[in-house]
């Protein structure tokens, strides 16, 4: 089954970034096909060199390194959200495919479940 996760929150103030990724990793660990869509302030989860220790928090960007291990290959980032924040596609900590809203809409139509964090 195909589970899509929309990751829309910036890291650290709240637990959405962390708990969204944990849910996605769990779905993959339980053998489901997982796709991730970073959008809105969620694209900030993808910035390299985060210093979570400044807030004594769990470094969510390190959790992204685990995506490979869980065979999560479908990692997408909303191009408009990157542009609105002045972030270049090649400045991200992990490899993502930049997509637009139309592509996201089409891909979500094939998902068994869409989880929103």
């Amino acid at each position: 089954m195909h589970f899509a996760f929309l990751l829309r929150h910036p890291p650290y103030s709240k637990q959405h970034a962390r708990e969204g990724l944990e849910a996605a990793l769990a779905a993959a660990a339980f053998g489901q096909e997982v796709s991730l869509y970073f959008m809105g302030d969620g694209v900030l989860q993808l910035l390299p060199d985060q210093k979570a220790t400044q807030l004594a928090a769990k470094d969510t960007s390190r959790m992204l390194q685990a995506l490979d291990m869980y065979d999560i290959e479908n990692v997408y980032v909303d191009r408009t959200s990157l542009q609105a924040r002045g972030i270049a596609e090649d400045a991200l900590a992990i490899k993502c495919t930049a997509v637009d809203s139309r592509q996201i809409r089409q891909q979500l139509a094939t998902a068994q479940q869409v989880f929103c964090f």
Partner: protein, 92 residues
């Protein structure tokens, strides 16, 4: 696709939801603080989109008289019916 929105504007959820909506096939259900986006003064819903609000959330907040004319009021059973009709949902 059924889009369920529980947040008042301004909020990123609304923008992101609107960017993904297909007004021909999708429906929007406003619940909790999301019902405030059903006010007539908030006019950003695309033409032709089906927009529903949950009656108990409208009544609690006493905003019945302020709703946009195309908004459809449903009860809890109507909410369930929407989830029966739409195989997919996103709660923003």
């Amino acid at each position: 696709m059924l889009h369920i929105i529980n947040k008042a504007t301004p909020d990123a959820s609304l923008e992101q939801c609107l960017a993904l909506i297909d007004p021909q096939q999708d429906a929007v259900l406003l619940v909790a603080d999301g019902v405030l986006s059903a006010l007539a003064s908030y006019a950003y819903w695309p033409r032709g989109l089906a927009v529903f609000v949950l009656s108990r959330d409208i009544e609690a907040r006493a905003i019945n008289a302020y709703l946009a004319p195309h908004i459809q009021i449903i009860d809890d059973a109507g909410f369930v019916a929407l989830t029966e009709q739409h195989t997919q949902s996103i709660s923003w």
